[in-house]
């Protein structure tokens, strides 16, 4: 049983396209996150949701729109993709500080 699963694992797309990454957790956690890891391995928080409500939006361009249909899901939609969006995107969930991560989605914009 995968605790935090995100799909797809790899995503290659052209500039200007719109794409979505899905995330689901079966841990019953209230808090979910999206992180972006760049080529230098720096892991930067993008969004935090608690019980489907947006808690944190860390100066992410509004081309990125998270959606939480229920507290087990936090999807990330990206409009008008740019070359600089190429990175690995990680979904995570947490309760009482410890975070559980998905395996990541490697997004390549060409």
């Amino acid at each position: 049983d995968t605790a935090v699963s995100q799909t797809p694992k790899y995503l290659v797309t052209q500039m200007g396209n719109d794409k979505s990454i899905k995330c689901e957790q079966n841990l019953g956690h209230d808090t979910m996150y999206w992180y972006k890891q760049d080529s230098k391995k720096f892991l930067k928080i993008m969004f935090s949701y608690n019980n489907k409500e947006l808690i944190i939006n860390e100066t992410v361009p509004n081309r990125f729109s998270p959606k939480s249909p229920d507290k087990a899901h936090l999807n990330l939609h990206i409009n008008s993709l740019e070359l600089g969006d190429s990175a690995v995107y990680f979904c995570a969930s947490s309760r009482l500080s410890e975070a559980f991560f998905g395996q990541g989605t490697r997004l390549t914009v060409v």
């Binding site: 720096f42 808690i55 995570a92 947490s94 500080s97 410890e98 559980f100």
Partner: protein, 112 residues
């Protein structure tokens, strides 16, 4: 915003030696955690130390926390090839804003 800063950025040691990684942070914290990331994988939680704790052990891992210096260290004893990975410290703050902030990580390479 970035909270933690690991030091060194990269570390290579011989198998069997001890590896020490340090983390410094900027603001007051509630908890500090260490995570491991194997190449191409997600992060895995290793250990959590609360702000009122000074030292914690888990198997071959030893974590210390000095809140006066805003720093923590992770010691891996008797290193193994499987310990080769990146190690990140992460903090969550006292205002409990559901934000876990990661440092830049230390890339540890264990030489056979």
């Amino acid at each position: 915003s970035q909270q933690g800063e690991e030091d060194p950025q990269a570390l290579s040691i011989q198998e069997g030696e001890n590896a020490t990684m340090n983390c410094s942070y900027k603001t007051s914290i509630n908890n500090l955690q260490w995570y491991r990331q194997n190449s191409g994988r997600g992060l895995v939680h290793l250990i959590l130390i609360r702000s009122n704790e000074r030292e914690k052990h888990s198997g071959r891992l030893r974590v210390t926390l000095d809140t006066s210096k805003k720093s923590s260290s992770l010691l891996i004893t008797a290193s193994r090839a499987a310990d080769t990975a990146s190690y990140f410290c992460a903090t969550d703050t006292l205002n409990r804003d559901d934000k876990i902030i990661f440092g830049k990580g230390t890339r540890l390479h264990i030489l056979p």
